[in-house]
Amino acid sequence: MELFLQFCINGLMLGMMYALVAVGFTLFFGVLDVIVFSHGDTVMIGAFGGLSMYWWLGAVYPGLSLTWTVLWVFLAAALAVTVVGTLVARFLIMPLRKAPPLNTLLATMMLGTVLREAIRLFFPDGSNPKPFPHLLPEWSWQSGSLTLRFDNALLFLSGAVMIVLVHLLITRTRLGMAIRAVAQDEEAAQLMGVNFTMIVLATFALGSVVAAFAGVMNGLYYNEINFGMGLLLGAIGFSAAVIGGLGNIYGAILGGFIFAFLQTLGAVALPFASAYKDVFAFGSVIALMAVRPTGLIAEPSSQRV
């Protein structure tokens, strides 16, 4: 029972991370009808941005309190990723809007390779995994073999808060209304006075901030980051967004948790070695696509995001 609970907790953590990545995929698909496959690598850039900030703080303000360090790390990650994300949107995604979907997908995959290789080659000692600092207090609550770590709970809660904030932003603010308008019908939105370019860039900035959060969260959770982590994260985020139903935020969140559930299930509950968990999870995604080709929450033609 305790073991079961432990796996549930780990699965929920993973699910939250995947959901945060998937939300980005689905937001971009909503406004521009493109899959930005480099989003996973954007997450990686966020983690590396946060790490650089940590190093810099350590060199310049050695005695800074943990709270401020964490805030600055998040801020640096968010800033780095937002700059990358909006530049990509402006100079790669928007010019390719009229291109066939395959070209856009391939272009963003290539962009992901460029980002990955750039970090590997140009970040100091970038080809080796980097230890990510423990920045959260390491209290934990133990009951038998069950360990509930305070830092993980904090990460999970802040991830949930992040999702709620995105939800509120999309449903309750003028900016959110404009994003939904563009997602629904770009031309009509423009006729109503929505600045299309600004809204697209704002959406990419929003998705990027969420990605930066996911990146730092990933680093804090595993205490290690490497240049290649974005590829799998991106593939998982994309899978999550697709099995949930592209263009639907709730679908993306659902998809993220489903993928984490599949991985956990593959790791513990099935009669083969836990190393097969990714094989099982991706196999299930393929099977799910055969059964529900448009995702669990199908993309309605008139409404997205």
Partner: protein, 386 residues
């Protein structure tokens, strides 16, 4: 009245083909023989300048007119050029291996071309099917199967495994179909790495090709000349490439290719005119995987040792990039782009480390500024029928 390009031909008929092939051969020999970085760079730049001049002037029109009006002589010239290269570098293991790799990759990408270029079936796991061919050849020859059946089995198993993906691929479209094949590519690599039976992450040794008692892994001496064992493999690769090329081109020009074009261009319109969409997608997907698998099996035998890292998702992306770089649907484009993508990083040791960065950036620019590729596919020509 439309000016017919063959009127102002500078280079006449079959002789022109021979002339161009000889020039190409001479340049390739110089380029492949060069070992210092400076001469390589000089040949490279002079070659690109020549191509640029041809592209900017009207020369490229007469070249392509010569090629398309003397197709069979051009095909023969190209085959002979490759054959000549193999014989000229008969004792140079490294160059021969490079040539073999080019031919094998080109065969696999021709398979991808049938899927994506002709029919528009998205496949992000081309390297996985290539890998299935490789691993099938390794396992079946380890189990005692003779080489030739093992080679064929590689293609057949790749096609059969592809059938598992058929249902989700047929039911989905666009991004959703991309996801299915991508998930398969990721799954395949992880599966190979964790499965002990397939050698795990270290990989597995492959028995060499043996045909009619001729062991392909031994160097040999003929008329007092030393021949590298790669000569035999290269000849096998050349045979496979020529067969695949001929097959793919026949396919393109037949009514089958026409139906595939209809599926790619407009599924709805095609279906209205009685084209069975599912049938052609299945055909293209299976034929493409068969070719990839065959190429993979031969590659495994030539390499003698394979590991999961050879067939990862970035390799599938590499295959796709070759297709896109060469020009979707154009078979000569596939071969040209394969040569670029395989040879350039091998010859420029300086950029070896940066090669993925450079590929990726190059393909990005291609997609942004020349989405049709180096040699865009031409519209069908029915001129000679009338």
């Amino acid at each position: 009245m439309r000016h017919h390009p063959s009127r102002d031909l500078i280079i006449p008929g079959p002789a022109g083909c021979v002339l161009m092939a000889t020039a190409l051969l001479a340049w390739s020999i110089l380029f492949l023989k060069a070992e210092e970085q400076i001469p390589i760079l000089v040949y490279m730049i002079s070659g690109s300048l020549l191509v640029l001049v041809a592209a900017l002037s009207d020369l490229h029109k007469s070249i392509s007119a010569t090629i398309s009006s003397n197709e069979s002589s051009w095909d023969k010239c190209m085959t002979l050029t490759l054959l000549a290269l193999i014989l000229i570098f008969h004792d140079d293991h490294y160059t021969l291996f490079l040539l073999g790799t080019i031919m094998v990759y080109a065969t696999a990408v021709l398979g991808l071309n049938v899927q994506l270029g002709y029919t528009g079936v998205i496949n992000f796991s081309a390297a996985s099917f290539f890998g299935i061919g490789s691993y099938t050849a390794a396992m079946s020859s380890a189990a005692g199967l003779p080489s030739l059946p093992a080679l064929l089995l590689g293609g057949i198993v790749a096609a059969l495994v592809g059938c598992v993906l058929l249902l989700p691929v047929l039911r989905t479209s666009g991004h959703y179909a991309a996801l299915v094949t991508m998930a398969f590519a990721l799954l395949f690599r992880v599966f190979l790495e964790v499965n002990e039976w397939f050698g795990g992450p270290q990989g597995i040794a492959v028995a060499p090709l043996t045909l009619f008692g001729l062991d392909f892994s031994q160097d040999m001496q003929l008329w007092g000349i030393e021949f590298s064992f790669y000569v035999k493999y290269d000849l096998a690769c050349l045979l496979l490439l020529v067969l695949a090329f001929g097959f793919v081109r026949r396919l393109e020009r037949s009514w089958l290719g026409l139906s595939m074009d209809a599926v790619r261009c407009d599924e709805t319109a095609g279906a209205c005119f009685g084209v069975d969409i599912a049938r052609w997608k299945i055909t293209a997907f299976t034929v493409g995987n068969l070719l990839s698998g065959l190429a993979g099996a031969l590659y495994a035998m030539m390499l003698a040792y394979i590991s999961p890292a050879n067939f990862a998702f970035p390799d599938s992306l590499l295959f796709l990039s070759i297709l896109l770089l060469g020009g979707m649907g154009n078979n000569w484009g596939v071969i040209l782009a394969t040569v670029f993508v395989v040879v350039i990083p091998e010859k420029f040791q300086v950029i070896q480390e940066y090669r993925y960065l450079i590929y990726a950036a190059l393909v990005l620019f291609m997609i942004l500024y020349r989405p049709m590729g180096l040699l865009p596919r031409k519209a069908r020509n029915y001129g000679r029928l009338s």
